[in-house]
Symmetry: C2
Amino acid sequence: MKPFIKRKIIASVAISLDGYLADVDGGYEWIKGDGNLALNTPDQWDYNSFLKDIDIVVMGKNCYDQQLHLDFANHQLLVATSKLQGKQDNITFINGDIVSQVVELSNQPGKDIFLFGGGLLIDQFIKADRVDEYIIGIIPVILGKGRPFFMQDNPCLELKLEKYTIDQGIVVLHYSRR
Amino acid sequence: MKPFIKRKIIASVAISLDGYLADVDGGYEWIKGDGNLALNTPDQWDYNSFLKDIDIVVMGKNCYDQQLHLDFANHQLLVATSKLQGKQDNITFINGDIVSQVVELSNQPGKDIFLFGGGLLIDQFIKADRVDEYIIGIIPVILGKGRPFFMQDNPCLELKLEKYTIDQGIVVLHYSRR
């Protein structure tokens, strides 16, 4: 029998060099590379491969309202909201202490858990130091203003760089806890 | 005769993954690697080599008050302050429109110009889009709180990744304008 390996809780986001998740209007048009292939790594970050190792996706209500849940028809989806309740297709609406509920799931056998966003949802997990892996894509742009990924007043969390890939100036950094 | 190449204005800083230059007390003890050599690049970012291509260092008054100018005895040093005036050894105190004064120097022959910090000084150059190269070392830590590098309300600046090095989980990214 295979020993049980704890499911990882993974935050994966793309941010500008100055730390924004989205522009002031919530737009993502700036999420693109610089067109230069010269620094590309042989290995590439592959979102679809990543999703194959995930069975639960957690997102906030804003992401749900933007229909982003439609991308995860083959995953179990948890949407954090106090406005909706119960289940609907592959979606379970959750509220209250989101972190504890997700951590409890992470202690059950299964694939990994993907914290999709937004920033306020992931922030709760950062503040509780419950993110096992950070996959941060750094877009080669200073966006200047927008919606920040990291909120204020987090604990100091020492990380270990586990892996990196580069694609057209987008640097994807994978960190675990140190 | 060699054609004149414009001197670059270079900002080089180390920041935490969440974008801080220093902790809340101004401390830098967290600026260290994760101890893992496995991802090190063959080339390494070499601060001393970098300084050989620099002849002017620009810093704010706080850095000067912290005696950080003592590290640059062999460079021409510009300290931005309205409190002090004139010259002292290798230091010239400047005030008023700092950006214009430094840009004027960048149009004269010489080596490159290093914007040392702090954040408020470099911010003036970012806002004016007068930084020719950003060298950003990303320390493998979420610091949680502290003094941010990127201030609010910057222009959107598209960058090109020119180079990267990794040393014990510290990822140094070199960007130019796109």
